[in-house]
């Protein structure tokens, strides 16, 4: 760079200025932006919110909500399946898969979660859109905020907050609809007949949405969210990040459109500061990658429109990798880290799908009577008493047959008729096992109970238990 274009950095003696550690919040007014990434964001908002608001309304089966987390009933409806607390490890698998997929796509393309799918971003987008429709775009908003409390300000602010609150209310209502059947809730809410806890949570989540998306906004991303901090740890020099190409853009200065920048020794950046105005977190991407950047791509879009107008090539701010920027290495997406994440992710996903498909909605728990080790029947047989709990997790009633094996000539004695359990029912069946003393090789023998549904061969479980007998005299 020539001496003329070098910027002079002011030098201050160390220790003369103590840093002001408290940063007063400055309100961010993001300017509206159109472009490739804006369209992607819009699509993701539509997709995520479409699912969020639509899913609870879907029914599957007789009056059964397709997606319902029934906490008092300890059941989780997921379309075709009903999961019980015993199925909790599927959730564990889902969480691990979610974490791994986060690692994968963050390693590839940075903070995709933050910019496109995070609830904070998505709801803030909606609230910003409402604000723009009512108050106008950024310049108008700033002017309104500076104006006194006249009729215009009262009306516009009032209208905005009213619409915000209505939308937040709808959001809170929908959230509770995931836990209480939403059709019932919809009937109860207008007549103020919802239960106390439902009412509390609807108001709580409405307030949370209103507060987070209306007021806190970028404060969540900057100060509260752990993702902001640890996502950066998942980057490496080949991660696609949004960067300002300083080598191309500097030195920045305003100039006429017809001028040749190179003649004046200028870079491509015309210092229009539009990239700062559209940024929802209020940073200047030209300062480099910062933790506040949520990778929404708004700065890319707006800079590209400016570049077009100036007839410069697009991409002054663009998705690129650190290696590319440094000019050292070409773009390398497929690398060991990405391959390892993908492989593990693929295996776990397949494993989860297979496990769910092979799930048997039947469970048998054996509780052996423990008041005495064993009992001798009048005929001289050794007897152990058990209480069997049969969990019919299927959506249909079934009849079952029961048998036991593990000892020669083992007898299973049961009072009552055949075993029948309704859909989703848990029944208790007392049984006794009897064996000849001579057939018992050990004091404690392993036995198995085999429960089989009479009408569905798929429903079959085998449960281990112990049969105790007298001390063997050798």
């Amino acid at each position: 760079m020539s001496a003329k274009s070098q910027r002079v950095i002011p030098v201050v003696a160390a220790g003369a200025i103590e840093p002001e550690l408290y940063a007063k919040r400055e309100q961010v007014y993001p300017r509206e932006v159109h472009g490739v990434f804006a369209r992607w964001r819009l699509l993701m908002v539509a997709l995520t919110l479409g699912i969020y608001y639509g899913l609870p309304w879907i029914n599957w089966g007789e009056g059964r909500q397709a997606f319902l987390i029934d906490l008092p009933g300890r059941k989780f409806n997921l379309f075709f399946w009903t999961f019980w607390p015993q199925d909790l490890f599927y959730l564990t698998a889902i969480l691990i898969i979610s974490a791994l997929s986060l690692f994968l796509f963050t390693a590839v393309a940075g903070r995709l979660w933050c910019g496109y799918t995070c609830p904070q971003t998505v709801w803030t987008e909606v609230f910003l859109w409402i604000e723009r429709r009512i108050e106008g775009d950024r310049p108008r908003q700033i002017r309104l905020a500076a104006s006194p409390w006249n009729a215009e300000r009262i009306f516009k602010k009032g209208a905005k907050h009213f619409v915000w609150m209505a939308f937040a209310g709808w959001t809170g209502f929908t959230f509770v609809g995931y836990f209480t059947p939403i059709h019932e809730l919809a009937a109860a809410v207008p007549t103020v007949a919802a239960g106390p806890w439902e009412t509390f949570w609807i108001l709580f989540y409405s307030l949370a949405t209103y507060g987070n998306a209306g007021f806190l906004r970028e404060q969540v991303c900057i100060y509260m969210c752990p993702y902001a901090r640890f996502q950066s740890v998942m980057f490496d020099r080949d991660t696609l990040v949004i960067s300002y190409d300083g080598a191309r853009g500097e030195p920045r200065a305003a100039r006429r459109r017809t001028e040749d920048p190179k003649a004046r020794g200028l870079g491509d950046c015309i210092d229009c500061t539009l990239c700062v105005q559209v940024c929802p977190t209020g940073i200047d991407i030209r300062d480099g990658l910062q933790y506040q950047c949520i990778a929404c791509g708004a700065c890319i879009d707006v800079c590209d429109t400016v570049m077009e107008k100036m007839n410069y090539p697009k991409g002054l701010i663009r998705y690129t990798t650190q290696n590319e920027l440094d000019g050292a290495k070409p773009r390398r997406i497929v690398r060991p880290r990405v391959l390892v994440y993908s492989a593990i992710l693929g295996m776990l996903t397949v494993a989860l799908i297979v496990a769910v498909l092979l799930r048997v909605p039947l469970q048998l728990d054996v509780i052996r009577d423990r008041n005495s080790l064993y009992r001798e029947t009048p005929e001289g047989l050794i007897e152990n008493v058990y209480t069997l709990k049969i969990l019919n997790m299927d959506a249909r009633a079934h009849r079952f047959t029961l048998r036991a094996e593990g000892i020669e000539d083992l007898r299973l004695v049961r009072d009552g008729a055949s075993i029948a359990a309704g859909a989703g029912e848990v029944i208790e069946v007392p049984v006794r096992l009897q064996a000849e003393e001579d057939e018992l090789e050990h004091r404690s023998s392993r036995v198995q109970f085999i429960l089989q549904s009479e009408d569905d061969s798929r429903l079959r479980v085998r449960e281990q238990a112990r049969f105790l007998g007298p001390e063997r005299e050798r």
Binding site: E18, L21, N371, S372, R375, E376, P378, V385, T387, D415
Partner: protein
């Protein structure tokens, strides 16, 4: 109520607690750096490391500091209202015992009606009522199954409640009495009196009464002689038992402790003192009534065991 003979421990706890809280108040105030004015620079702790490394001493956020004070005030208020300072019962006079009794009263109010309804009915009627039997079964599994087994067929020393054999009487009232007041068996130990051979002989005779195999006819005869002398007082002239005394019927091949020769000999030699606990105070009349109905239903259901 004083738990200790002297009030020393009471003061030992109360005084340091209160003093401690007051000290914390003072400590909080002392450690609070005064609020920084706008023009003042941040003070450092005064210590310098490695020539020029300093540590700032910024005041704690006001809200953080206020939280400390709030907790101290809360602590004091709590100790005034609730017990915590020695034997001081607290202004609200809360106690665990009271809380338990209130919960019990609430439960009684909730379930009392149902139990009262059952209490008024006859046991034989209740035994035929499927809801009452189910309630009784749940009570049984909760309170009785640990000794009598979850299927009520007993264990060595704990009677089988499903058969028709009763030690103390099998009519509904007797069953209820047994559960309410408990029973204490008292089979004396005859080992000293009979001697080893005597015990063996009597055992042979007793086993023969139930129609079990007899090996030694002479032993049976000698045993019978001793039996007539010593045992008929409780077990009756034919060994049919006496429910007033809880003496078992020895002719029906139902054995409380086991019917092998070894066990019968042990019973005669060492005696038995089986005990059924009393449940009146523990469960109350209503629950015992349901249990009695359930137990009665076990031997008077569709299928009756021997």
């Amino acid at each position: 109520m004083a738990d200790f003979t002297s009030s020393f421990w009471n003061w030992f706890i109360a005084v340091p607690t209160v003093i401690g809280i007051l000290v914390l108040f003072w400590l909080n105030r002392k450690m609070t750096t005064p609020r920084r004015g706008r023009q003042e620079t941040t003070k450092t702790t005064g210590h310098v490391w490695d020539e020029d490394l300093r540590e700032l001493n910024n005041p704690l956020p006001r809200w953080w500091l206020n939280m400390f004070y709030i907790t101290l005030v809360f602590g004091l208020a709590y100790l005034v209202l609730y017990p915590g300072l020695g034997t001081f019962a607290g202004m609200l006079r809360w106690s665990q015992q009271d809380q338990y009794e209130r919960e019990l009263a609430a439960a009684n109010q909730r379930y009392g009606e149902l139990y009262e309804k059952y209490l008024r009915e006859q046991l034989t009627v209740l035994a035929a009522n499927p809801d009452a039997v189910k309630t009784g079964e749940r009570l049984f599994v909760n309170y009785c199954a640990s000794c009598h087994g979850s299927d009520a067929r007993g264990a060595p020393g704990y009677p089988n409640l499903r058969d028709g054999d009763w030690l103390w009487g099998g009519d509904p009232q007797a069953i209820e009495f047994t559960i309410l007041n408990g029973r204490q068996a008292a089979m004396p130990a005859w080992g000293q009196v009979l001697g080893q051979d005597g015990v063996a002989n009597v055992a042979e005779y007793v086993l023969s009464l139930s129609g079990k195999r007899t090996v030694n006819e002479s032993a049976v005869a000698e045993g019978k002689a001793k039996f007539q002398q010593l045992c008929v007082a409780c077990h009756g002239p034919e060994g049919k038992g006496n429910s007033a005394l809880g003496a078992p019927n020895l002719t029906d091949d139902v054995w409380l402790y086991g019917g092998s020769q070894r066990v019968v000999m042990e019973t005669i030699e060492r005696g038995r003192s089986g005990r059924m606990p009393a449940h009146e105070d523990f469960l109350g009349e209503a629950k015992v009534h349901l249990l009695a109905a359930y137990v009665y239903s076990l031997s008077h259901g569709k299928t009756v065991e021997k």
